[in-house]
């Protein structure tokens, strides 16, 4: 793992991990495991763009045994995802929802509002996904 992606924020063992270069959750877990110490209580803030919303609970479950205590904070950004851009091209309500959120996010520079749009996108995608269930 590139150490430049990890920035020690303060003396309370808080770290910031840029996950934009990792393809999936196992790779992120591997990156977190590089920080592993049995006696370390750590809070990792995940930042950077992601293609799909991360399952923070699953990542925490995978990595928590390597630490005394592990707390993950998801501050990743989904709005820039190429997959989301693809979704916006669908001729469905789903596609229009994504397209509208992308337009809204492009129309503002307010950090708080951008975060709200990002969370809204996650919320809607999660609800769509729940509605579909498992298709395979």
């Amino acid at each position: 793992m590139n150490q430049s992606n990890i920035k020690q924020c303060d003396k309370y063992q808080a770290y910031e991990l840029n996950v934009s270069q990792y393809a999936d959750e196992p790779e992120i877990c591997a990156a977190i495991d590089l920080l592993a110490q049995d006696d370390l209580a750590i809070r990792i803030t995940l930042v950077g763009g992601v293609e799909i919303a991360l399952d923070i609970e699953n990542i925490t479950k995978c990595c928590q045994e390597s630490f005394l205590s592990l707390q993950l904070v998801d501050n990743t950004e989904l709005l820039g995802s190429a997959l989301v851009q693809e979704m916006a091209q669908e001729n469905t309500v789903h596609g229009i929802v994504v397209k509208r959120l992308l337009e809204l996010s492009r129309s503002t520079t307010d950090e708080h509002q951008l975060r709200i749009y990002d969370l809204t996108l996650r919320e809607l995608l999660s609800r769509f996904e729940m509605m579909q269930g498992e298709n395979r």
Binding site: A23, L83, E86, T92, V93, H94, R100, F128
Partner: protein, 746 residues
Amino acid sequence: MILRSLELKSFGQFIDQKYEFRRGINLVIGPNEAGKSTMMEAVPAVLFGCKDKKRFRPWARSQHCSASLMLENQQYNISIERDIDTDCIELRQADDLYQEQCNLVATVPVDGHCVAKLDYLHLLKKFIGISDERLFRSSLFLGQGDFPSNAEEIKRHMRTLLSGFARGDSTLVLQSIQDDYLAITNDAPWLNKQVSARELEAVQDALDDVYAQREHMQQLKAEAQHLSQQIEVLQQNVANDRREYEKGVEYLVWIQQQWQLAANGAVTSSEKPAPSCADKEDDSAEIAALERERNHLQQILVSAGLPEALPAELPSLLVAADEIRCALVALQQQTIPLHKEVDALRFPQTKRWLLISLLMVASLAGVSFLWPQYLAPASITVGATLAICWGSFAWRYRRQKLAQCHLEQQIAAIDLQRAQERSHLKELDDDFESYGFASSAIAMVKMQKQLQGHEHIVQRLAELRLLLSPNESPSSGGDPTEDGCSAEDEEIEACQDQHSDALAKHLHPDELPAAQQNLAELQKVIKKQEVELLALLRQEAVLQERLSAAEQLGTTETELRHSLDELMQRKEVLGCAYQVLTDAMSEFSHTNLRALEEEVGKYLRQATMGKYVAVEITENYALRLRRAGQRGKSSPLENLSRGTIDLVCLATRLALTRFLANDEFLPFFLDDALVNLDSDRLLETVDALERISTDHQIVMFTHDERLYKLASRRRWHIVSLGLRSKRRKVNKKEEVSANDGQLSLL
């Protein structure tokens, strides 16, 4: 676009089998467990991968599960091959002359995302118009239960597909968002009715309560501060008043004693001419007791080796003598090391140098005897060496002498100090001797210790002497004469006059009750203040207890704030989601429904052979059909026959497929979708399918004999699976044998 071929290399029960398909209707027929569904599932499995890797793994084989397909349209061919286990895909695009134009070989995981997967999905979108598996499945696949039997089901299917879902629809999502939003807050701009307060309002109220309590705490804090100031002032007042009271009481006692003494003096003077000597005799008993005590104490002192009458300067003299002796001892200790150093410097170490000189002279003599030719240089060397040695010795000796002089000067200075101290001691000794004491150091130390041991006796003696001194006659030991008594009386009178003058400045006996009353009032005031102070202290304790709850309040406030922030963010997110979804649904209805109407109408005209020419789709996706020749008049779908509903269903599904795939004519897969139809409806539906399959490729998977017969008659492309092929072989054999039988009969 059509599915040209499907090659199942190791896929389920298929091992290295390739199936070709044609334009129009293709029928894949086979009994149950023949692999129809597996073959149909191979299409999305190749395109999008499979999460459950074991699902299509070859039975009792260790090979990797893999399959490939070829899609074709008028411009290009696309071949996609996927290893289901490793998700390694190979996509090749060639033009109509089979010239390769695009090639992508990559690992495209089902879960997770990488650049290769994004590229692959982009290519899928470009070639087949759909890059989402969910949309692909829901739009292109029609299962047995998916064939709607009434208008309501068609409406629901349309709503689901146009929402971009496989099941459920956007209105359900909207409802769930609204429910969650209303669970958080009642502040819903889109809701007309008023609902009761929710979690957010409850937290807000709790936080407002905390703020109010905090404000109250601030007031209590100010009150406590004010109270502590009051307490401090009151405590000072009480202390001052109590001090005043005690002073007053002491003063009254003292003044009463003085009045008593003055009254005694007055009585004495009023009883004149009785002689004062007689009065002394009246007090003789008391004086005698005091004198006895004095004599006893004096005897104790004498027995301890101390004189009866100790001079007042004696302790200070003893201390001074002790200090001088200590100083003399210290000076003596300083001189001892100095004397030792002087003794060491007085005698220089010459033996070593003499021995060296003798050795060198002896060696020179040896040289002159053995090697007389080296006598001169040897003599020079020895001479120079001796000169250096003795020069060094002389230099050192001089330094020693200087140090010795310095030390002797120090000793002389100390001796001078000692002489001075001795002279002081001599003076003290003279003083002692003048008092009749021994001046030796031992005697003085002994006396000092005795004096320290009998200090209380010495003090008591001094008091007794002071008491007895006025009673003793000035002529000690002599009898009192009249002259002496009169002189003393005069003196006493003078004293009494002075005392009376002094008392006149103080409190008068008449003023005593008023003073006592004042003191009583002061005491009352003090008591009142003490009661007030006690009440204030209790009040302060209560306030401090209440203020200690402020820390708990801080923790509660932090938790509530955190909770409020979370709820506010959730409210914002859900509100935004609701708004965006509502807008999206509205936008979809306004912009896309007209285009979809045209698309469905086109298919409907083909399916009904022009009987129905147009369709209207309402905002809630209900369909109304317009017959040919009835301009402006349309009938709701539910009023039409079941056969027509089936045709509308097919038309809408194909139109939706095209609409969702961005005008691409994709193959349409029916998995036993028509099996529940009776023969007449089946025929009608198949006829309609034939009419609309001019643009779409239809692939039907079934075990229905009726369809097989129809397919045979109508020259559809038939793919037989499993037992069907065997059965066909058996049938052919039976036919051949029957023919043989007929021929044999002939």
